[in-house]
C-alpha cells in the first residue's frame, strides 16, 4: 500500500521542469531512499511531497488525499519533514526544540497536555537525548544535533517521516548512528521513512525500497538487490563502477572506478 502517491507531478523553480509528469508510489511502513546525482531533483521531489514546494502540475496524495487541499495542520499530524541542515536559534535548548514538535496539536485554547509531555519524553528517550535536555542545540556535536532535530520530528507523532540528507556532514560513526536510529523507528514503530542519501552503499544497506531519479523522472525503483547494478550507476551517476555483494552484509556494494593507488587486483564476486 502506498502512503504517498504522486500523480503526473511536475516541479520547477523557473520555467524548466526539474521533475516532469512523475508517477511514484512510496510504500507504507518501509524505508525508501531516493538516490540520484547532484541537482537531479531528488531533494525537490522530497520537499514537494511535504508541501514545502507547490507543484507546477499534478498532485501529491498523502494517504489517498491531495496534500494541497488539506489543512496543513492536519497534514502535520501525519507527515513530518526534516529539511537539510536546519539551524536552531542561538541558545535554544534540546527540550525547547523537541517541544516544538507538538506545535500541530496546540492552539490558543489547547495548551500543553499530558499527551504532549509524553510524546516529547518518548522522543528524547528514543534518541538518547534525555541527559542533554537542557543543553543548547548549537553546542551539541553534529551527530547529537541531528538526533535532536529527529527527536523533534518524532515528537510530532507522525506515521511518515521525510528526511533530506540526514547524514550529510556527519562522520562515519554518526552516519551509522542516525541510520540505525531510523532503522529501529521503522522496525519497532512501523514508521514510514523516506530519505535522500548520497552514500549508495549505506542506501543499499538500510533501504527496503530505492528510487533512482534521473532525467526528471524515475530511472528505476525496487529492492536494492534487484535494481542496483553497474548499468544503473553508469546511467544515473555517469560513473563506471563494479557493483558486488557486500562481503559482510550481502547488500549491493558499489565500488567506483577512478584513479588512486592499486595494491592488488582481485577477482570480484558478481551478482548472478
Amino acid at each position: 500500500m502506498a502512503v504517498i502517491t504522486t500523480s503526473n507531478l511536475t516541479l520547477a523553480y523557473g520555467k524548466e521542469p526539474i521533475i516532469d509528469e512523475l508517477n511514484l508510489q512510496i510504500p507504507k511502513g518501509k524505508i525508501t531512499v531516493l538516490i540520484g546525482s547532484n541537482g537531479c531533483g531528488k531533494s525537490t521531489l522530497l520537499r514537494s511531497m511535504a508541501r514545502l514546494l507547490n507543484p507546477k502540475g499534478g498532485h501529491v496524495l498523502l494517504n489517498g488525499k491531495d496534500v494541497a487541499k488539506r489543512s496543513t495542520k492536519q497534514v502535520a499530524k501525519e507527515l513530518a519533514i526534516l529539511p537539510q541542515g536546519p539551524i536552531a536559534p542561538e541558545g535554544l535548548t534540546v527540550l525547547q526544540l523537541v517541544k516544538q514538535g507538538r506545535f500541530p496539536y496546540q492552539s490558543w485554547l489547547q495548551q500543553w497536555s499530558r499527551e504532549d509531555e509524553e510524546a516529547v519524553m518518548n522522543a528524547l528517550d528514543a534518541t538518547n537525548l534525555l541527559p542533554f535536555m537542557e543543553t543548547p542545540v548549537d553546542s551539541l556535536s553534529g551527530g547529537q544535533r541531528q538526533r535532536a532535530w529527529i527527536a523533534m520530528t518524532l515528537a510530532q507523532g507522525t506515521e511518515t517521516i521525510l528526511l533530506d540528507e540526514p547524514t550529510t556532514y556527519l562522520d562515519m560513526t554518526h552516519q551509522i548512528e542516525i541510520l540505525d536510529l531510523l532503522f529501529e523507528l521503522n522496525e519497532k514503530e512501523k514508521r514510514t521513512i523516506v530519505m535522500v542519501l548520497h552514500d549508495l552503499n549505506l542506501a543499499c544497506r538500510y533501504a527496503h525500497h530505492i528510487v533512482a531519479i534521473q532525467d526528471k523522472t524515475v530511472y528505476a525503483q525496487g529492492a536494492p538487490e534487484e535494481i542496483m547494478n553497474e548499468q544503473l550507476v553508469e546511467d544515473v551517476f555517469q560513473m563506471a563502477s563494479s557493483v558486488i555483494p557486500d562481503p559482510v552484509f550481502g547488500t549491493p556494494m558499489c565500488i567506483p572506478y577512478g584513479k588512486g593507488r592499486v595494491v592488488r587486483h582481485v577477482n570480484t564476486p558478481q551478482y548472478a
Binding site: A50, T72, V75, A76, L82, I87, G91, T93, F103, Q156
Partner: protein
C-alpha cells in the same frame, strides 16, 4: 540558553517586577525635570488643580510625555522582536531596516507639500510610509539569485534607511518653514506631545500589542526556519503577513507620535532574551515592558544632559544603543 530567569514562576515574578518598575519610572518622569515638582503636586494637579505653573506643566507636558514614552517604547520593543523573528536576523529592527525612516519621510512629505497637520493624518501616512519602506526592502532583498537571504535583506534595509533619511533631509534643506516644524520631531522626541495625540494612535497600537502577544507561539515555530515551520503545520504566508502588518502599525504609529526613535527596537529584544531565554511567549511581553522603561528613562535623561535645554530622546537612545550594537556585532552573531 534558558535566560537568567529560570522557570515560569520566576519569569512571572520578573514580569510583575518589570511592570512595577515601569510604573515607578513613569511617576519619576512626571516629577523630574527642569521645573522640579513633587509627587504631592503631581497628585494635586488632578485632585486639586489650582492653575499654578507646576500643575499646568504636569497636566499638559509631563503626564502626556510619560504616557507617550511608555506607549512608543512598548511598540518599538515589540516591533523589534517581530522583525528579528521574521527575518531570523539579530540586528533587524524598524530603524535599521528603514521602516522608521520610510514613515518619517512620508510624514515630512505630507507636512511640506500636502499641509498635513492632524495626528490622525500623521498616523495613516506613517503606516503608509512604513509599509512602503518595508515592502521595498523586502522586494530588493528578494531580487536576484538565491532569493531572500538575511544578509541581502539587511543590506536592502540599510539602503532604504539611507535613502529615506537623505530624501527627508533634501526636502528640509529646500524648505525652511517645514524644517522648523518637523526638525525636533524628526530627531525623535516624546516632548510636547498632547494627550489627544496619543489617544488618536493608541487604539491601533493596543490592538497590535495584543495580536503580537497572540502571535508569540507562532514566532517560536517560525524561528526554526520556514521549512520546519511548514512541516509543523504553520500557515507561514498568513503568519508572515500578519507579523509584517503588526510591525507596520507599531513602527508607523510610533513614528507618527514621536518621530523615528532608533535603537530601542534592536536592543530591547536581546535584553529580553538574556532574561527569559528563547521562548517568544515570554520575549514579547518582556520586550514590551523593557522597551517602555528604556524609552521613558532615556526621556528623563534627555532633560538633564544639556540642561536647561532638552536633547531629543532619539539622541539619548542612540547613546545607549550604540555600545550595545557594537557588543552584539563583536559577539560574532554574523559568523553564522
Amino acid at each position: 540558553m534558558n535566560g537568567i530567569l529560570y522557570g515560569n514562576k520566576l519569569k512571572t515574578a520578573g514580569l510583575i517586577v518589570g511592570i512595577l518598575i515601569a510604573l515607578i519610572i513613569m511617576v519619576l518622569s512626571v516629577v523630574l525635570g527642569y521645573t522640579n515638582t513633587s509627587l504631592k503636586q503631581a497628585i494635586e494637579a488632578y485632585t486639586a488643580f489650582n492653575g499654578s505653573n507646576e500643575h499646568l506643566i504636569i497636566q499638559l507636558s509631563r503626564v502626556p510625555r510619560s504616557l507617550v514614552g511608555m506607549a512608543v517604547g512598548i511598540s518599538l520593543g515589540i516591533a523589534g522582536v517581530l522583525m528579528q523573528a521574521l527575518t531570523r536576523n539579530p540586528i533587524a529592527s524598524p530603524d535599521i531596516f528603514g521602516v522608521n525612516a520610510g514613515a518619517g519621510f512620508f510624514i515630512v512629505f505630507g507636512v511640506t507639500f500636502l499641509g498635513v497637520s492632524s495626528i490622525q493624518q500623521f498616523m495613516w501616512i506613517g503606516f503608509l510610509g512604513a509599509a512602503v519602506a518595508a515592502g521595498l526592502a523586502y522586494a530588493l532583498g528578494s531580487a536576484g539569485q538565491g532569493g531572500l537571504t538575511p544578509v541581502k535583506l539587511t543590506l536592502a534595509g540599510a539602503v532604504m534607511a539611507a535613502l529615506f533619511a537623505s530624501l527627508t533631509q533634501g526636502m528640509l534643506v529646500t524648505n525652511e518653514k517645514a524644517l522648523d516644524e518637523v526638525l525636533f520631531w524628526l530627531a525623535g522626541s516624546v516632548e510636547g506631545r498632547k494627550l489627544s495625540m496619543l489617544v488618536a494612535v493608541l487604539p491601533a497600537l493596543v490592538i497590535a500589542w495584543v495580536i503580537s502577544l497572540l502571535l508569540s507561539r507562532q514566532l517560536n515555530a517560525f524561528a526554526l526556519g520556514e521549512d520546519v515551520a511548514i512541516s509543523l503545520g504553520q500557515k507561514t504566508v498568513v503568519f508572515k503577513l500578519a507579523a509584517a502588518l503588526m510591525v507596520i502599525i507599531l513602527a508607523g504609529g510610533s513614528v507618527a507620535i514621536a518621530g523615528p526613535i532608533s535603537f530601542i527596537g534592536i536592543v530591547v529584544p536581546h535584553f529580553a532574551r538574556y532574561l527569559v531565554g528563547n521562548d517568544h511567549r515570554w520575549i514579547v511581553p518582556y520586550s514590551a515592558i523593557i522597551g517602555g522603561i528604556m524609552l521613558v528613562v532615556a526621556d528623563i535623561g534627555a532633560r538633564y544632559i544639556i540642561m536647561p535645554e532638552e536633547a531629543p530622546v532619539g539622541v539619548v537612545t542612540a547613546l545607549i544603543g550604540t555600545p550595545f550594537f557594537i557588543y552584539i556585532v563583536r559577539k560574532g552573531i554574523f559568523q553564522k
